[in-house]
Symmetry: D2
Subunit: 346 residues, 4 copies
């Protein structure tokens, strides 16, 4: 089978270059075009990267182009554009017939755009039909959730499905790579915690409801979510401390089994789907960012320290790679889902 | 007035040496004796310190002695001993007639030992009479709370007093100095978060109830507390993310006023009491460990980001110096309280 | 005596705000005006600072103005402008009659501008007369050296004076604050060393020769200097590993005595001059950035590990505060020298 | 071919567990036994590891034994013991007929023990014959150099071979993992540089001469080496700033070619030998620990910033993985060399 061509928008940034790196040797997709800022257009991709670790020679030799549909003849567009650029450009690509999978926040909450964690809501892709009719285009836009939301929802979904989840209280400790190459200055974060990440708490609270909605385009009702987001001196890996309130009684064994046994995508055999999306660690001091962020190739979320919460019902901590499942890896997994479901073809 | 002699037990460690440093130029107290491990006994104090920053020449020239009452003729003993040593030695010092203020956990929860944050429960020193009668000694033992508990309770007290507090859910991000000089290896914490600190969650949950008890020796009832404690790559300053549930409605303005206007110790004029024990910061990204840990000379707790919590009622973050208010500074403040109340004299 | 008015250019940056902080309570000078970028002009100084630690209330209440001589009626201008701005603006201020002491590199190597470490070459201020005649202005420009040069030269001078110094080989490990607030991204320096700081090696090699010149405007001849400069994950304090070759034999005792006994400025009684400019530490593992950067209020350089070098003659390590002696503090010390020598008056 | 059994001594430490990890899937060798301290003897290996990342299931299921030859029937013993234990135990294993490759310093400088960087001095294994005759054993001891020495010598060797090297002046910035799991406390190294590593400078100076000796057991004469060793807040990867003096003129092009073209082991096809032992990076800001430590699977040394030195002749910086080439990886490479040369058989 010929591999399907993929174009990567914003390919010189931290998420964009991670997409290219993760696609090295991909069985279905091949990166055929990369876009970057005007400063980089016309240059060899490998020459404008800050870190070319793990990127294939073929990709390094591509010439950077502008983010314009005329420069791309690939069926699939993976977008790591910043929100301000994404807002108009992703529309242009969808109008030009491309299947756009976006890491930007611009269309995540649009009623006709699926916000996907494939293990949880693969059926939300049915929104695409509505989207194409309503917008009158043959392309499509699908979005990956915010990086700290992705890991939280992966852990909530297995227990939310079988038992009713009433409330979630979460404090995050997020890695510096979540803000991009220059998003956090060394002087601000060394020996420090920054108790604020603009817009992040609102994203967690809103996106979680959309992803857990039982019907596409219907938000999960009756679930209260409260988030506090902070930045800590960690390179990669978002850590979260979570307490939950359940509608029905549930035991620790049931929760752990729900996580460990959860294999919702198994039959689709998507190349980037990890064998086990949620991994429970029974050690008292796990998960930890440096030891567990690469679990499942960065696509698994690790959970630990499940115990009774004397204020809500249960509490635990979780950890996942913000650049892989939290961004680049989930963008690729969505593209694989779209391919498996027939929304894109080579 | 002649200054009252003070002996410091465990004076070569991080908390012990901070006590000595904070007592430099103290108007009431003077360090007259310091104890250390057998390895250091007989040596000049300044020669066995890992870091002598800010310690006075008089103290540096003291000769380290063993932690034995026969080596101490000071009315006041400030103990920075580890729990295993503190358990027997602090009894010996109290029996020998010393007023012992301890940083160890050994006697914090004993029914006849006051666990003191002077601003909150100065009247709990009335337990000392019971203690002296029951134990048959002329000395006394009083304890300072665990480092992460101290800052949490300082922030809870002003709103707990005026409005009923029902529940507290807290996630801490604690500094490495909280574990002593060699408590955390660089390899374990660099680029990492460790989601477990042995015994810490239990201490927060138990000590908070004792400190907030309306009567000495009666635990505050009907308050549920749930803590998750973690270690982050920060040198000094424990950061905490807190959500609270109140019995009665309360506005943000009332909460902030309760914190900002709280001056419970003013009339006692204790030298180490900060002018403002709780400081509210209105900036969106404060408090931060590196910028705020030295507020009030390390004796004030800084709070910020007060906002509605959609699961409980209110949420906020707080920050305080774990070695000062969380240990050495509060030990000194307790000694000052005991002096002001007549429990020790020169 | 009325304090002399001082204006600070670029007062919102890391060096500028440190100048204002160090001038709090200064016996001779008072900050009367502060300039900042167009984004900050017209705002209260305290409201645009990223970190207001240690800055006096009077200064916090100043209104930020543009860097234009018409906004300043202070005899002294302390400039923390970036080089590109400094180049034209500092000339304007000197032409308008101000005594400008600059932290920028723009005029450091100009033949008629003194490049001053007051302890070493206070007599180089005699260049000012030439400068005023040649340039036809009543103001003046004097410069502080590059931050890593300052500490190196302070340590070389005492041994260079008495014994001939032939060659210096230095490797620096520089702190992130040397690059300003946003000069180093957290992602680039965490768990890393960056082996390149643009232009820094050339500055060390050139400025050292000018400062050590026996006559003003005559470079020290016959001294070879070779520098490698790197950035390490340290907040404040530049560390340097140095080997030197001497013309004449010299013993370790003579070197240490030359450093410890060096008090060249004593009789001038400049308020910011540290009692001991160079401090030798005999411990095997000192100096260290976190323990020694504040020695002498940040104005002293600490040296340690003096021992034979089997390639050159002697080797040692040194450490000093890059923002204090390496920038803001030395700017103030130069202003004090100019006042003491009669180049500025109130 | 059946794989040759390997026993790993001190397998629970940082170097020992890295040896086991690197041997996963090794084509020639299989780990059959692991030893640890008395605390771990009798337990499952996987249960006593602090970090089991990358270690194969077969190894994780081994039972830890004491470091006694009676517990080992493997021809090859790879020793990650501490020096104090290694001194007696390695002799016992050699006497019992094992080929011992050691990471400890105990026998590195012994006249009849080869100290090996296989690319440089593979012929030094001829010492083994002398060793066996003199010591009267059928086993053998061979040693890997100190971690900072290994990378330095790999970079010196190609230019030392073709052009005479007169003098080397090096300042190291070493990673915390070089001191083992608990060797460096977080409080001592965070935001800091420690300018002393006990015994390290002496090791660099002595071991370099032995490795570069033209004849086994004859030290390279007439080469002066001066080292300053420091610890910096980096997890893995020793960085070194080097200046060299040459006997004969040499151009930058010749030096770079000597490094880039150096393939001394090619014909032996040792599995762990990297394709290119020394990699020259032409970017102005490379190598860096985080980006380059894994070059060649951690077995290559990266060099950069080659330029004229105004005191000696040339200067450059280099970087290599201290746990791989600097310890565990080179131990394995030596074992492969011994196998290829017929000193051990299965």
């Amino acid at each position: 089978m010929d591999r399907i061509g993929v174009g990567v928008l914003g390919a010189t940034g931290l998420v964009g270059s991670r997409i290219v790196r993760l696609l090295r040797g991909h069985p279905w997709f091949a990166v055929r075009a990369v876009s970057g800022s005007s400063r980089t257009v016309g240059k060899r991709y490998g020459d404008v990267l800050r870190d070319d670790t793990g990127i294939g020679e073929d990709a390094l030799d591509l010439t950077v182009v502008a983010s314009d549909p005329r420069n791309f003849d690939t069926p699939i567009i993976l977008s790591a554009l910043q929100a301000e650029e994404a807002e108009s450009l992703e529309l242009e690509f969808a109008r030009a017939g491309h299947a756009v999978v976006s890491n930007a926040k611009s269309y995540r909450m649009a009623a006709d755009v699926p916000l996907l964690l494939p293990e949880i809501n693969w059926q939300h892709t049915s929104l695409i039909k509505t989207q194409q009719e309503k917008r009158g285009w043959s392309g499509l836009i699908a979005c990956t959730p915010n990086c700290s939301t992705s890991h939280l929802v992966l852990v909530l979904a297995p227990i939310s499905n079988e038992f009713a989840l009433n409330a979630v209280l979460v404090t995050t400790m997020q890695a510096i790579s979540g803000a991009g190459y220059d998003g956090v200055s060394a002087l601000s974060i060394t020996d420090n915690v920054i108790p604020h990440i603009g817009g992040e708490e609102e994203k967690i609270e809103a996106e979680t409801l959309k992803i857990l909605g039982r019907e596409p385009a219907h938000e999960r009702g009756s679930l209260r979510i409260s988030a506090t987001t902070t930045r800590v001196p960690v390179i990669d890996g978002h850590f979260e401390s979570v307490s939950v309130e359940m509608e029905y009684p549930i035991t620790a064994e049931e929760i752990i089994a729900a996580w460990q046994d959860w294999r919702p995508l198994e039959r689709l055999e998507l190349p980037t789907a990890p064998p086990q999306p949620v991994i429970y660690r029974s050690e008292p001091d796990r998960p930890q960012p440096r030891l567990d962020r690469d679990a499942g190739g960065g696509m698994s979320t690790s959970v630990g320290r499940l115990r009774k919460c004397s204020v809500l019902d249960w509490k635990f901590v979780l950890l996942g790679h913000n650049l892989v499942r939290g961004a680049a890896g989930n963008v690729i997994l969505i593209a694989e889902l779209l391919k498996a479901q027939g929304y894109v073809s080579g």
